[in-house]
Symmetry: C2
Subunit: 338 residues, 2 copies
């Protein structure tokens, strides 16, 4: 097994997500069963569409954060299963609605649900999953959990609208962009971790530490996602390279290239993002500018900083296998190629 | 004031809604202020779009039901204000998402929000309002209230998807249609009334009576809405006559004409609803069939039956001005011309 041994350091790093899954396999199986149960409906289109998205292809990163956080918090009950399912439902509802906003043909390597069932079905099934998420939260019998996740949900929607508005005026600084992704991505990661502290009755310091862990991890995750869109390969990403660009979505590499570039370059970005669609030549030119300003490595550097912040947030907890796992996930998120 | 006296019986009936508004004017002003406060966001598109829909033109029928039910229940606190605002937010979120499903150019006599801001903004601002509704409910500090309204929200979405699916196969009985409108319309009316019983700690019999009142009133309301679409006038309705038909939406008059008609007529309905759009000639032919089978008066008769059921549900409460008002609203709903 020489090969395995040689490959060990790198494969260990790559497998932090799988180790997390393995460590919480029993809990995750319960979450998956609950997800399957609660997406049922006598209206067949609902489970069909939900299954397309929810039961296939998802990495379950957010619910795993809830499960691992509950373990880190020493929680001994069952509510974390329901909250993990609720978090995944909120995430799934957001994805269904995002498909309409983005207009991307692919999601998780499959045709986006709205391409198969239409925009109307995606809107309504998203609403259904969102409502079911709240039913699950109610069953946790903790009002603070509901408050945290309802608040997160409105912040997510706010972030998405802000991004929509930013596209129109192409006048976005890096710090504005950070506010957008903190809202649309990091808030749910933060809540996914924090709710476990609430059900475990942890003191405020530890509750806020878990919030910070999730938030910083979410920022790192989104920045890597942004960078990979200008650097990855279609197969591994489950979406096409340059998708964000084609959809006219301003992300961090663009914000960095814009900020570092000349007035002439700014005119290119403005012109190309104001067009109704962008072709391969536009993408080639965008890639050239992003490469010129080293916007991808700069975005990845920033992701690594947030990944380090996430690790540090865990220091208020005593050392444990679960703390190590959650810490290793921070490395996984920034080193993944998908 | 001879004229007023002569007109009294009819004008009293027509004005039940206005009398309800007047009786709860102070509470309604607080609800409106709260709605305005909670739809604010630093992201300007959100209050702009929300104002277009929420702060203009709404009859506030659902929140008024919550307010009057709280009074009928003898509730003495403040939570009914928050719940009335939450109910209106859920309703508004549903309308924003419906605009995408329906494709109707008008809503409450104004251009539908998605025609002004686009589908993406309507989806996301709907999500925002829905999340804010849950924040308001959390503030009521009653888990049962959250359970009732989360459940209602998933049932509403389910009803909408069922209607969407029914359009595709044009194979809908009257009883199936009743299930659809019980879900997509009556469930929120039922919850709007019921939550007031919950916060007032009413015994189960009275809680279920308020649920029944709202549910039957909602059914009557929707059936009248369906009938008016084939009988009303554009100005008064705030939407065009034949809108439901043009949008390919199966409603009760169609279900009745279909059920009473010949195989040849069924072929017409199938053909016309399977087309991507329907023109004036199609509408004329549909109107002829609906008239032949007296589907509009039959739909209104059915609405009156549910209106009577709603009145009867109130009998478990002692006589009072508020009970009379709620009872008179049942008459208003079926006698309105808009």
């Amino acid at each position: 097994m020489v090969l395995t041994t040689i490959a060990e350091p790198r494969s260990r790093k790559r497998n932090a997500m799988e180790r997390l899954e393995a460590a919480f396999a029993d809990d995750l199986a319960r979450v998956n069963a609950l997800i399957l149960e609660r997406m049922q409906s006598p209206v067949g289109m609902i489970p069909d569409l939900a299954a397309h998205l929810v039961s296939a292809g998802g990495k379950r990163l957010r619910p795993l954060i809830t499960l691992a956080s509950a373990d880190l918090a020493g929680y001994g009950g069952d509510a974390h299963i329901k909250l993990a399912a609720a978090v995944e439902f909120i995430h799934s509802a957001t994805l269904l609605h995002d498909d309409i906003v983005d207009g991307s043909p692919l999601r998780r390597g499959k045709p986006a649900a709205n391409r198969v069932w239409g925009n109307s079905a995606s809107v309504l099934v998203g609403d259904f999953l969102f409502a079911r998420a709240f039913n699950l939260m109610v069953e946790s019998e903790r009002l603070r959990v509901l408050d945290i996740l309802a608040n997160a949900s409105s912040i997510i929607a706010e972030g998405e609208v802000r991004q929509l508005a930013a596209i129109a005026n192409l006048d976005m600084s890096e710090s504005e962009y950070m506010q957008i992704i903190e809202a649309k991505t990091a808030e749910l990661f933060a809540s996914a971790a924090r709710v476990s502290a609430v059900i475990a009755n942890l003191p405020q310091e530890q509750e806020l530490a878990l919030d910070r862990y999730g938030r910083e991890l979410g920022l790192a995750f989104q920045l890597v996602d942004d960078a990979l869109d200008y650097a990855g390969t279609a197969g591994a990403l489950g979406k096409a390279v340059g998708d964000d660009f084609r959809e006219g979505k301003l992300t961090m590499p663009v914000a960095k290239a814009l900020q570092a570039g000349t007035a002439e370059e700014a005119a290119f970005w403005r012109r190309v993002f104001q067009k109704p669609s962008r072709d391969d030549d536009d993408l080639a030119q965008a890639m050239a500018l992003i490469t010129r300003h080293q916007a991808v490595p700069a975005t990845l550097d920033q992701a690594r900083m947030h990944s380090r912040n996430a690790r540090e947030a865990l220091h208020v907890f005593p050392a444990s296998d679960t703390r190590t796992l959650l810490s290793d996930v921070c490395g996984f998120v920034v080193d993944r190629s998908f």
